[in-house]
Amino acid sequence: MSIMVVDDEEIVRKSLFHWFKKYGHVVETASSGLDALEKLEKYPFQLLFVDIKMPGMDGIELLEKVKTEYPDTLVIIITAYGSIESAVKAMRIGATDYLLKPFKPDQLSLVMERISVQKRLVSQYNYLKGRLDKITRFDNIIGQSPPMEAVFSLIPEVAQSDSSILLFGETGTGKELVAKAIHAESRRSHLPFIAINCGAIPESLLESELFGHQKGVFTGATRARKGFLEVVSGGTLFLDEIGEISPKMQVDLLRVLEEKKITSIGSREPVDVDFRLISATRQDLKKAVAEQNFREDFFYRINVIMVEIPPLRKRKEDIPLLVEHFLIKYSQETNKKVDHITIDAMGLLKQYDWPGNVRELENAIERAVVLSKSRTLGTEDFSFIQPYGIEFTESLSLREMEKEYIQKILEENTWNVTQSAKILGINRVTLHKMIKRYKLKRKP
């Protein structure tokens, strides 16, 4: 738990600081109400121990401000001058408990135990609620920054129409999650959502996957198979890495979008199809069109509405929320009690630019939780995220930055392509293509 002790007496601050350290809590102290509010702005402490009698802003005034601005923060009032009146007032405003100084050691221990049970229940509830929401809507798209608020407000709006949507965002920004959320908000939500990564499937196989085939049309086609364009019937088709598909496939898909009919491989009978298309790309398709690497008519057909998903470096204020979410998730999944992070470590995570975006952050937290030997993650648990040898200065283009970053990840993973692809959030085939495209070589 993260705790702040607010008391004007240094010996009290010191005593409680050392006491809570014995439980592995993240502890900070503040000598006044104003000092406490300043520190709360920088770090979302979960629990405050507040003395009532302090010069300037007293404990009750601080409690009122905290409950208004940080309603999730719990406050325990401590005082040497207890009265029933002040206790009732504090509890009415929202204090979690009220303790008279000095208290018996087991008294504090009991209060902490109660809070810990309460926190655990809330965490479990939030986690289970999150798991439940995953099936329905907006789950795992975490953020309250203005760029994410803009995405959240767009989702229900664009979900209502049937127009094709193009999601544009860097790798790891959560494009598939947004696509799922749009599907869940749409009138098609009770129908299938099928996601296909175009970059991961070879051209010949992609055609058969999308359009289906008749029995015996090619080696291995031992029976007829319906394509996803037909299987999705009425639902949403999500085509990730749309920029990777061949010009021929672009023509084929364009025809499907215009005619709403498909003909499976080896058949002459067209079948009516009905689906909503959401595509995603991390490439600049406008540029690809200008360079004649992508068909203009197809681009305008799939890009009726464009939704841009911001990279994590442009919404760093969401990092604490995401960290908390992943800490709970991986503490539960690994059955390890690693549920705190130091202020310095959080600072480090906020400082880093996260070229692999939310997926890289999630991997970093998972790895830190798995390897951690203590309950609190510190800067030493994130030494692996320190960029070495690469400085993402403004002089690097996006393309150069991508190249440098892929090289870095490959070197870090001794050129294990499967592992590197997992960290980069792309599939092996795409990584192989990128290695070739950027002419990357193992450093001696």
Partner: protein, 181 residues
């Protein structure tokens, strides 16, 4: 058998029966596999007496000891017969800071049962040894443990102290091994 160059010094502050230190030294070797040594006694820490509370301020004693140089590999457990407190608590049986050098054990409240009766001598020694080993755990950076059957579980009353075993749970034992290297 001890397998570590780290060692623990036991010192009495004022009058403390020598048998208490001997029992502690023996258990430190058994339980923590560390060498222990009884050091020459020191005087009662009058500098830490709080005249309003008529108790001894554990923080002041610890800070005094921590300012002395014992070397990185040496931890000190100081035992006294006086009542100890830290400013927020009415009393403490013992006190140490995470990763510190010196831990304190007070015998004052251990020589009485919750019902007011006097416990036999061996029980007082056992209680004092539990407090000493618990504080030593903090000096090696062990945290309070949620397992009630672990020496590092916090016990705020004599009943809880008596229920606490004289050994670490398997996780704390692993952490300790890790800290001792």
């Amino acid at each position: 058998m001890t397998s570590n160059k780290k060692s623990v010094g036991l010192v009495s502050l004022g009058k403390v029966p020598e048998i208490v230190l001997k029992v502690m030294a023996d258990q430190i070797t058994r339980c923590f596999k560390l060498a222990s040594q009884i050091l020459p006694p020191m005087g009662q820490p009058e500098y830490a007496l709080d005249e309003k509370r008529l108790q001894y301020n554990a923080g002041i004693i610890i800070e005094t000891f921590e300012s002395m140089l014992f070397g990185d590999d040496h931890k000190i457990i100081a035992v006294l017969n006086q009542d100890l407190f830290i400013p927020i608590f009415t009393h403490v049986f013992g006190e140490a800071r995470q990763g510190g050098t010196c831990g304190l054990v007070s015998l004052f409240r251990l020589a009485k049962n919750p019902d007011g009766s006097s416990p036999p001598g061996f029980l007082i020694h056992e209680r004092a040894t539990k407090v000493a080993l618990h504080e030593l755990g903090h000096l090696f950076n062990l945290l309070h443990c949620e397992n009630k059957l672990c020496l590092m579980h916090f016990s705020g009353s004599i009943e809880e102290l008596d229920e606490m075993p004289l050994h670490l749970c398997e996780y704390c034992a692993i952490y300790l091994q890790d800290k001792l290297g």
